[in-house]
Structure formats: C-alpha cells, structure tokens
C-alpha cells in the first residue's frame, strides 16, 4: 500500500442487472434491465448522491453495491477489493446499509441492544464483554440513551428507530455506508436531526456514503457529487454544486424544476415532461429519455448517446455532443 494512491472507497465497473419477470401465467417472461452499464468511482470520505424517479434502478444499484444481489455483468470494488471475492463477514466489516423504513428492518422481538450487537455476534470471534462495550459506545455515538438500549423497536419513535439502524450499521466500524432513502419515512424536524447526525458521523469517522434519495433538496445538502439515474443509466453525474447551479441534461433540469422550495408566490412549475411514464420493462430505443424530452430531435430515437465528459462530470445527451462539436469547430 505504501506509496500507491489510496483506491476509491467504491468503484463500480460497467454494472448491469437484469430481472426476468413473468407478466402472466402463460405469458413468456420479459427482461427488465434495472441497471444498465453503470460505472463510477466514489473517493474515500465523500458522498455520492443518487437521484431519480421510482423505477430508475437506484435501489437495485444500492443492493448490488451492498452485495445483496449478484450483478448480471460488471463488478463492484470496495476499497479496491472485489466484492464478489469476499465472504459475507468480510463484506459486512467494510460496507453496511441504512434503509428507508427502520420498522421493517429491525426485528420487533429483540431489544435495541441485541439488534445492534447482532453484526458483532455474527462475526463469531468477539468476546462478550467486548461486544457489550462496543454496543454501548455506538449507542451513545448516535444519541441513544442506555435505557433506550433496553427497549423494543415498537417503543421508539421513527427517528429513534432510524438511530438504531445507524448504530447497527456502524458497530462493525465499516468504511462505506449505503443509505437508501434514510429519511423518507420521517417528519421534517426528525429528518433534519438524522441528516445532521449522518453528516457529523461522516466527518468524525471518515466514512464514505452512497446516498440514495428522491428528495433533491436533501441530496443537495449532503452530497459532494450527484448521479442522476434514468431507466437504469446514469444520464448525468457532476460535482454537487455544479449540478445544482448548472444542470446540463434535460432530465436533470426537469427534476430540479420540480423541487418545490418553501418560497411563496412562485406557483407550481410546468416541468414539461408530458404524460409518458418510464417503464423499465419497455426501454425506448436510442436515448431512453427521448419520449419525455422537451428538446428531443431526430437523432434521439435513432441512436443512443454516449457519455460526454464535462468540466464537473459526465452527461449522456446528444445535445451535449453537438454542443461539444460546435465548440471544437
């Protein structure tokens, strides 16, 4: 390791995941391409925000990176090590999830203390006293009291349950945490508490986050870099400030336009996406966004765009190609 540059915390190479779904008892199965040729690197200590509408593949991407789903093609590396070559225990020490609904992901029959201890117990080689010490330490770190450690999940509020889920994710001292809609089920005042806690933990423990959310205002607040997904592909990726200040892809622009900030008098914007809804079982030819794109032209349905490098990241749009060509000429 000495001398060599540190590997990125997460590296994803040409990742692809296909699901076969049956539409009816006798209908032939159809292929749903949930993640289609996704590549990126997340440097250690940063936060990659992933945004997109439901069905865009962002949760499938999270499960692939967590190793909860095997990819159909491509590979995932965490801290330079291939996920596919690691056993479950080694993986758990490196990367951990925090999901949307803590009530669904916490065992209702176990006390908070035991839920948080589970990953340590599963490692199989830690003395009891050490487990208790580590659990007490992490509960305090996420702002739960000793007494709350003795309760059952049903006796806690939504925000406290999400703190339990965060404690469980951190007890093995992982390097990477995948947060899939971690505050979507919470009230705004509690959401703010949890976002502040996540930010503080990242700073103090040097964590790297993959942060998935449909709430762009939240992603803007926490992410250092943002990837916009549409029907399985990353159509734009850029450093967060640049993306929000100057979105390039028409889809990114529409997403940003639909954020309703608490500013009276502005009304509800027309995002101009029309009525066609994206269907991952039926991906349009050419640019997959063209049926909804207000700027689509002849080339869009005919030919799939390739990613073009920009100052702050990449964009996958034919307009970008023509803009780049015009600039070069």
């Amino acid at each position: 390791m000495s001398g060599a540059a540190a590997p990125p915390a997460i590296e994803v190479r040409d990742l692809r995941r296909v699901f076969r779904v049956r539409q009816g008892l006798f209908a032939p199965p159809r292929e749903v391409v949930a993640v289609d040729g996704v590549s990126f690197r997340v440097p250690a200590g940063s936060v990659l925000g992933v945004v997109g509408e439901s069905g865009c593949g962002k949760s499938t991407l999270a499960r692939l990176i967590l190793g909860l789903l095997p990819p159909s093609a491509g590979e995932v590396l965490v801290e330079g090590r291939r996920l596919a070559e690691m056993d479950r225990r080694a993986r758990a020490r490196l990367i951990q999830p925090v999901f949307q609904d803590p009530f669904a992901s916490l065992n209702p029959r176990r006390r908070v203390r035991d839920i948080v201890a589970m990953p340590l117990v599963a490692q199989g080689d830690m003395p009891r006293a050490e487990i208790e010490r580590r659990v007490a330490e992490v509960l305090e770190r996420v702002g739960l009291s000793r007494e709350q450690g003795d309760r059952f999940p049903a006796q806690l509020s939504g925000g406290q349950r999400q703190r339990v889920a965060i404690a469980r994710a951190l007890v093995l001292r992982p390097r990477v945490v995948v947060c899939d809609e971690p505050t979507s089920a919470l009230d705004v005042s509690v959401q703010a508490q949890i976002l502040n806690l996540l930010a503080e933990l990242r700073r103090d423990l040097g964590l790297t986050y993959l942060f998935i959310s449909h709430n762009l205002a939240v992603v803007e607040h926490v992410a250092t870099e943002v990837a916009v997904m549409y029907l399985g592909r990353i159509v734009e990726r850029a450093e967060a400030e640049a993306l929000f200040a100057a979105p390039r892809h028409p889809y990114t622009r529409a997403l940003l336009a639909s954020v309703l900030t608490p500013e009276p008098g502005l009304g509800v914007p027309d995002v101009g996406l029309g009525d066609v809804m994206p269907d991952p079982a039926n991906i349009p030819p050419g640019c997959r966004f063209h049926p909804r794109c207000p700027l689509a032209f002849a080339r869009c349905p005919a030919e799939a765009p390739v990613p073009v490098a920009t100052a702050a990241g990449i964009v996958e749009c034919h307009l970008e190609n023509t803009a780049a060509a015009r600039a070069a000429a």
Binding site: S189, A192, N196, F244, L260, P264, V268, D270, V271
Partner: protein
Amino acid sequence: MSALLEVAGLHVRFGEVAAVRGASLVVARGETHCLVGESGCGKSVTALAVMGLLARGARRAAERLAFAGQDLRDLSDRAMSRLRGDRMAMIFQEPMTSLNPSYTIGSQMTEVLRRHRPGATRAQAVDRAVELLGRVGITAPGMRLGQYPHQLSGGLRQRVMIAMALMCEPELLIADEPTTALDVTVQAQILRLLAGLQRDLGLAILLITHDLGIVARVAHRVSVMYAGEVVESAPTAALFAAPRHPYTRGLLSCVPVPGKVRRDQPLGSIPGVVPRIPPGFAGCAFRDRCAHARAECSGDVPRRAAGPEHEFLCTLAPDWARAEPVAA
C-alpha cells in the same frame, strides 16, 4: 370571500388520546387552505371529522361544524353520506387503497354519479366520466374506463381519484397528502392540475400536507397544526414572511433549500418528538421542545393577533420575533 367550511372548537378523542383539541379553521369558497403539520398532529383526523368518517369509538365535539351554512353536527349518517361524494369529496394519499381492485375504473366512476343522481342514465354517467378523465389530463379516456386500477401508474391512479371526486361537481375537495406517494415530477403535474381545476370550477380545496414547499406554492391560507391544535394561521405570504409560533419557525428552519442553506452547516432541527396528549392536558403542548418556554407556558395560552387574519397560539408577544430572524 364567503366561508364554505367552518370549523370551530373541534375536539376528537380516541379513548385516552386527545387527537384534536379545539381546532378552528375556515375554508372560503374557491380558495386553497393548507393544513400543515407533522405526523400525529391531528390534521388527517380533523379532515375525517369534517367528513364524518371517524373510526367507531372516536368522540367528536365542536362548537361549530358547518358546510355551506348547514350544521353537520347533528346530521344523520344517511344525510351525511348523501353529502359525501356529492357536495364535498375527499381524496387520499394512496389511491390504490381507495380504488376497488376488482372493478373497472368506469364502473367505479359511474357508480358515484348514479348513487347521488338517481335520475342519471348509464350513458350520461359514462359521458361524464369520459369528460372528467379528459379534464384531468388522461389520454384515451374511453379506453381507460375498461381498465382496472392495477393497470395504471401511481400518477394516473391519483388522476382517476380526482376525476372520480369531481363526478358530482363538489364545492369542497379535501385532499389528504395527495402527492406524497408520487415522484416529484408527477407531484408537480398533479398540483398544477388541482390549481387549474380550482380556477376553472371555483372549487374550494382543503389540502393536508407535511410539505412546506407544497404549502408555499399552492396555498392561499395556511393553518399549522401541532398536537391537535392550530397553533398558527395566516395568509400564505404572511406566514412565510413573518412566522410567529416557535414551532412554525422551527419547521421552516428544518427544510434544506437548494442554494439557500449552507451545505457545511447543520440544518435547524427541533429537539424531541411530538408528544401524545392525554385529555385534560393544560398549557402549551410545544413547551417541552421550545427554546422560549417559560413558566406561564404551562397555564392558559392566549391566541394572539400578529397581523390581518394572522393569529398564533403562544405566550410570547406578537412582535417578539422581529428581533430574531428565522435561522437558515
């Protein structure tokens, strides 16, 4: 502006939990009134109490509960169900739970009209359903009538619910978190649709939401609920320009606003959680979470006027906040 829905001193109790404690609000004809608050604050229960849809075992009492001048308090169940779906209609967060999965869109839509207008023929009901599906922006409405709810996307289902609510030309539409389950892009479309319908049909809308962004963009008037009480009520511009209740101010500071909130700064937050209030609770319910709490907060809390039609429920003086801008 004449009042269409008047609620004053509304109380709802479920056993030992006081869910609504003396809430008052007025929805004027043709306006959008937003009821905003966190989960458990009593906003949905208030709407259900107005519609006469509370669960068995709930106890409702009110000083005034009137729709278009008609007292709803002593109305029989039959009279109430004649009103519901006819002159006042309601839509919910998850349309799949309110649509019957085993009937087509068409049969569910026409049933509403034929139930409330016994003279209407089947053909008239179908015509009306097609017209409304077109009105809410659904393409090929004739074909949609034969489809089942599961064949539609979430956004389309919510449009169907809105169209169904409009079958009898209601004067009041109560919408309980109508866009919470939808993507932001679809949310914007549905909110634009509601605003357009209101303009064209003169509909009054009571919109229940937890999202201050929605409130700012669509409401004419806002009531902020906390622990069963309306703690602040004001015209939208006044509420956002000069919020007075510490809870309202806390909520506004919790929302990340792209370009406005410093990314390296923590968000504002309100410590603690919404309490459960037992019957007979006295004083301000927010005092345990409030940075300005004082001894008098455990006594009677006055309702103070902060401006034209702007009231808040607090022991602080109306001009207390002038010295303290909302933390961003």
